[in-house]
């Protein structure tokens, strides 16, 4: 893995361990995940597997992250402002959480 991707992965991994900080910080982690997405073509299969593990961890925390972020921002508006790609699912925590709640009933 190249140095920048490694640093971003480490940053993301460590951030996962600290979800209980200000939503302002969590929003930055969404940016970091987007930066990693742009580097996915140069990641090895092992790196991609490591990223998938982080993504699964992230999804488990979706509710908590959404709560924190919603205290300071509207994700739908953020997506619009940042011209977020539809494939960048981590920016859709609101919709993911809503679907999850609907599925649970």
């Amino acid at each position: 893995m190249d140095r920048v991707s490694q640093e971003l992965m480490e940053y993301l991994a460590e951030a996962m361990n600290h979800p209980d900080v200000s939503g302002f910080e969590l929003i930055e982690i969404l940016d970091i995940r987007s930066q990693l997405a742009a580097r996915e073509p140069v990641l090895s299969d092992d790196d991609k597997a490591a990223l998938e593990t982080l993504d699964r961890q992230f999804l488990k925390l979706a509710d908590l992250w959404l709560t924190r972020i919603s205290e300071v921002a509207d994700l739908a508006q953020m997506r619009k402002k940042a011209h977020v790609l539809p494939s960048h699912w981590w920016w859709y925590l609101d919709e993911i959480t809503m679907r999850k709640r609907e599925a649970i009933g």
């Binding site: 940053y11 302002f24 929003i27 970091i32």
Partner: protein
Amino acid sequence: MTRKHEILPPEERAKLLDALHDIRKTVQWKPGKDILHLKKRQKMKHLTLSASLLDYHEVISALIENERNIIYLYEFKGTHYYAVRGFIDEKEWLVIFGTSGVMETAFPPENIDHYLEHRGFVPLGRIEEVLKWTE
């Protein structure tokens, strides 16, 4: 052209000045959040593992005290937050705090320009300019 101070009505300008004065007096966090943020800064290597809360507060105070630093406004659901950006040891930090001067966070974003631009932070000017609004 709208002058920078006209972005905020007089009562909101007064709130910003109060918040600035408050945070310059004491760095205050929401209950229990100070240690959480310090631990994260250490783990993310933004501060050394041996850094204390006092060290973290010194970073925050240095950023707020430097009147050349730029202050931004961020609004969400009618609540105003303020952000000050500035360098400490070649690393650019962002301090975000609320209307009562209570800390939201202080961290060095990976890409501070991208962060501020895409989140809707509005630059108000240098701290020294904002402080002159009372004159």
